[in-house]
C-alpha cells in the first residue's frame, strides 16, 4: 500500500508549484508602529516622480491630496517623458496601486510617457497583477438605472400581478381544502396542534388583557354620557352591542394579524429563502398542503374561540367599570344583559371570526411564499402581510355591516 502510494504521489510532490515569480519581501504588515507617511515628490531635473513611504489604506487621505497637486505640476511642466521611481516605497496595497493607476492614466491623457523604475520585484508584480484588472474594470457595464416612468409601470404591473397571485393562491388553497376534507388522514395533525397552541393558547393573555381594557374604556366613556340623562342602565345594552358585535371580533382579528399573520409570513419566507420550500416540492409534497393548511385550520379554530374569550373579558371590563362609576352591580348587570342583548349580536360577531381567520392565514402565507431570495424581501413581505390583513379585515367588517343593515338584520 505504501509503496503504491509513494510511486503515485511522487509526481505530485515534484509537480511544479504555481509559478514562484516573486522574491520574498519581508515587510511586516502588522508592525503598525513603523509606518511612514506617503509622499510623492517631483524632482524636476531628473524628470522623476518619487513615491516614498507607505502607499496604503491607512494613509488614504494623504494619498488623495497628491492628485490635484500633481495634475497641476504635470500640466505646467510640459515634459514628454517622466519616470516614476519606487525605490523608496515601503508598503504598497490595492489602494496605493489605485492611485498609481490614476497617475498613469493622467499622464496618458496629457500625452506624457510615464515609465516605472526601481520598483522592487514584488511591488512590480503586485502592480502588474492589479493594474491590468483595474483597467479591465473600466469596461464594466454601468449599473442599470430606470426612469420614473419605468418604475411606475413596473410597480403597477407588480401590484396587478400580486393581486392576481393572491386570487389564484386563494383558489389553490380552496382546492386543497376540499381535497383534505375528502382525505382527512392527510392532514398534518401535529403541525395543526402546534399551530393551535401558538396562535390560540399563547395569545390568550394578550387578547384577554386588551379586551378587558377596551371594555373598561368603552363603559367609562359611555357611562359619562349616559349619566347626564340618568340612563345609567343602558350601558348594558350598549356594551353588549359594541363588544359582542364589533369590538371583540375585530380586535382579536387585528391582534392575530399582527401576532400570527406576520409569524406565518416570516416563517414561510425564511423557508423560501433557504430553498426549504423547493425541497418540499421535490419530495412531492404540496407546500400549500404542508405549510398553509395546518395554519389555516388552526386559525379557523382559534380565532372564533379567542373571540368568545374576548367577548367575556370585554364584558367583564364593562361590568367592573359599571360597578365603580355607575353603581350597577354585577348581578343586576348580568340580569339585564340576558334580557336586552339578543343572541343574534353574539352570533353575528362570532360568524365573522372564521372569515377573518381565512383572511389572516391566506394573506400571511401568500406573502411568505412571495418572498424572493434576499433578506430585505422577508421584511417587506412580513410588513405587507400585516398591513394587508388589517386592511382586509376592516374592509370586510364594513362590508358585512352594510350587508346586514341591507338585509335588515
Amino acid at each position: 500500500m505504501r509503496t503504491f502510494f509513494n510511486s503515485q504521489s511522487e509526481p505530485w510532490l515534484s509537480a511544479k508549484k504555481p509559478k514562484t515569480r516573486a522574491c520574498k519581501v519581508y515587510m511586516n504588515r502588522d508592525a503598525h508602529l513603523n509606518t511612514t507617511a506617503p509622499q510623492l515628490n517631483f524632482v524636476s531635473h531628473t524628470h522623476t516622480l518619487q513615491c516614498v513611504g507607505d502607499w496604503t489604506l491607512s494613509h488614504e487621505h494623504t494619498l488623495a491630496t497628491f492628485f490635484p497637486r500633481i495634475t497641476r505640476t504635470l500640466s505646467t511642466c510640459s515634459l514628454k517623458t517622466i519616470y516614476l521611481d519606487g525605490s523608496q516605497l515601503t508598503h504598497l496595497d490595492s489602494i496605493g496601486i489605485w492611485w498609481l493607476e490614476k497617475l498613469l492614466s493622467l499622464c496618458k491623457t496629457q500625452h506624457i510617457h510615464c515609465q516605472l523604475k526601481h520598483f522592487s520585484p514584488s511591488h512590480t508584480e503586485l502592480i502588474e497583477l492589479l493594474i491590468e484588472k483595474l483597467r479591465e474594470s473600466h469596461a464594466a457595464p454601468p449599473s442599470p438605472s430606470t426612469s420614473w416612468v419605468t418604475q411606475l409601470g413596473q410597480t403597477t404591473l407588480s401590484l396587478i400581478e400580486e393581486s392576481l397571485g393572491l386570487i389564484s393562491f386563494v383558489g389553490k388553497v380552496t382546492f386543497v381544502f376540499f381535497y383534505l376534507l375528502r382525505h382527512p388522514h392527510q392532514i398534518q395533525w401535529r403541525n395543526f396542534f402546534n399551530s393551535v397552541q401558538k396562535t390560540g393558547f399563547d395569545a390568550l393573555p394578550i387578547t384577554g388583557l386588551l379586551s378587558f381594557l377596551i371594555g373598561i374604556v368603552l363603559a367609562y366613556q359611555m357611562g359619562i354620557q349616559l349619566r347626564n340623562y340618568g340612563a345609567n342602565i343602558f350601558v348594558v345594552d350598549l356594551m353588549g352591542l359594541s363588544v359582542l358585535r364589533e369590538f371583540a371580533p375585530m380586535m382579536t382579528a387585528i391582534i392575530l394579524a399582527g401576532r400570527s399573520g406576520s409569524a406565518f409570513a416570516a416563517q414561510i419566507g425564511t423557508m423560501k429563502l433557504n430553498q426549504e420550500v423547493d425541497a418540499l416540492r421535490t419530495l412531492g409534497i404540496r407546500p400549500i398542503e404542508r405549510l398553509v393548511m395546518p395554519k389555516l385550520f388552526a386559525l379557523s379554530l382559534t380565532l372564533p374561540l379567542l373571540t368568545v374569550w374576548a367577548d367575556m373579558l370585554g364584558i367583564l371590563g364593562g361590568m367592573v367599570m359599571a360597578k365603580s362609576t355607575l353603581n350597577i352591580n354585577f348581578v343586576y348587570f348580568l340580569h339585564r344583559f340576558s334580557q336586552v342583548v339578543p343572541f343574534k349580536w353574539y352570533f353575528i360577531g362570532l360568524i365573522k371570526a372564521p372569515v377573518f381567520a381565512a383572511i389572516i392565514a391566506n394573506i400571511g402565507c401568500y406573502q411568505g411564499l412571495c418572498v424572493e431570495s434576499n433578506a430585505d424581501s422577508v421584511g417587506a413581505h412580513t410588513t405587507k402581510s400585516v398591513v394587508q390583513a388589517i386592511f382586509m379585515i376592516i374592509t370586510f367588517d364594513a362590508f358585512f355591516s352594510i350587508l346586514l343593515s341591507w338585509l335588515k338584520i
Binding site: 503586485l126 479591465e136 434576499n374
Partner: protein
C-alpha cells in the same frame, strides 16, 4: 520570521452537550499557508469560528495577534477585522446587496474612498478571483454555487488583509478553477507576505501550496506538520485520508 499569529492553548470546546475539541494546542505562524483538515464534522469550521471570536472555547484560549479572543475589547476587535479577510463555508454574502456592493462593503466601512475607487477596486478583485464583469450587478441568489464562493473570496480579499481565513475556498469549483485559485492564493501570499489559514478537502491544494497542516480527528489534533510529514503518519484515519484507494486507482487510470 516565524512569529505566531494564532495560538491555541490547550483548548476544548463543548457544543450543545457534545465535546467537539479536546486539548487542541498549536500555533500558526506569520507568512505560512496553513491548512486545517479532517473528516466531515471533525470541527474545522468550529475551530475557525473560535479564531474569529464568534464562539468561545469551553476551556483554554485562542490568541490572535496577541489578543485573547475571549476577552477582546470592541475596539481591538475592529482593528483585527481590518487585518483579516474571512470566507465562510457557505459564502455568507449579504443577500440584499449586489455582488459589487458586497465586495466593497468592508472597504466602505473602513475607508473614505470615493465611490469610483470603491467600484474599481471591487471590480478588480472580482476579476482577480475569476468572475466576469457581468456578475458584478447580480444578486447573490442569481449566482451559481462556484461563483458565490469566488464572490465571497473577493470580499475577503478587498481590504488586502494580512490574515486570510478561508473555509473551503475551493469546494464546489471545477479542477481548473481550483488550480487557478490556488495559484492566486499562493501568489498573494508571496507578494503580500500573508498568513493564510484554510480548511480544505482538496489533496491537490494540500500538496501544491500548503506549508503546514493540522489534522483534526477523534476530537483531537491528530497530527501537525508539513503535508509530507503528515501523509506518512501511520494513524489509520490519516492514512485513509491521504491514501484513499479509490482516488489512487482513478489517478492511476489517468
Amino acid at each position: 520570521m516565524s512569529l505566531p499569529i494564532i495560538e491555541f492553548t490547550h483548548m476544548s470546546t463543548r457544543l450543545g452537550g457534545t465535546l467537539v475539541h479536546e486539548d487542541i494546542h498549536f500555533k500558526i505562524n506569520q507568512g505560512e499557508i496553513f491548512a486545517i483538515v479532517g473528516g466531515s464534522g471533525s470541527g474545522k469550521s468550529t475551530l475557525l469560528r473560535e479564531v474569529l471570536g464568534l464562539l468561545q472555547p469551553s476551556t483554554g484560549h485562542v490568541t490572535v495577534y496577541g489578543h485573547d479572543m475571549a476577552h477582546i475589547t470592541e475596539a481591538s476587535y475592529r482593528d483585527l477585522s481590518k487585518k483579516w479577510g474571512v470566507l465562510f463555508q457557505t459564502g455568507a454574502l449579504f443577500s440584499s446587496l449586489t455582488v459589487l456592493e458586497n465586495t466593497f462593503y468592508p472597504l466602505r466601512e473602513y475607508s473614505h474612498l470615493p465611490p469610483k475607487a470603491l467600484k474599481e477596486l471591487a471590480l478588480s478583485k472580482l476579476l482577480m478571483v475569476g468572475l466576469p464583469l457581468s456578475a458584478a450587478i447580480k444578486f447573490p441568489a442569481e449566482l451559481s454555487g462556484g461563483m458565490l464562493k469566488r464572490a465571497a473570496l473577493a470580499r475577503a480579499l478587498i481590504l488586502d488583509p494580512a490574515l486570510l481565513l478561508l473555509d473551503e475556498p475551493t469546494s464546489g469549483l471545477d479542477p481548473e478553477s481550483v488550480s487557478s485559485l490556488d495559484e492566486l492564493i499562493y501568489n498573494l501570499k508571496e507578494l503580500l507576505n500573508l498568513t493564510v489559514v484554510m480548511v480544505t478537502h482538496d489533496l491537490r491544494t494540500l500538496w501544491h501550496i500548503v506549508d503546514r497542516l493540522a489534522f483534526l480527528g477523534e476530537k483531537k489534533l491528530l497530527a501537525l506538520g508539513t503535508p509530507k510529514e503528515v501523509a506518512t503518519n501511520p494513524h489509520p484515519m490519516i492514512h485513509n485520508y491521504f491514501h484513499d484507494p479509490e482516488s489512487i486507482k482513478s489517478h492511476h487510470g489517468n
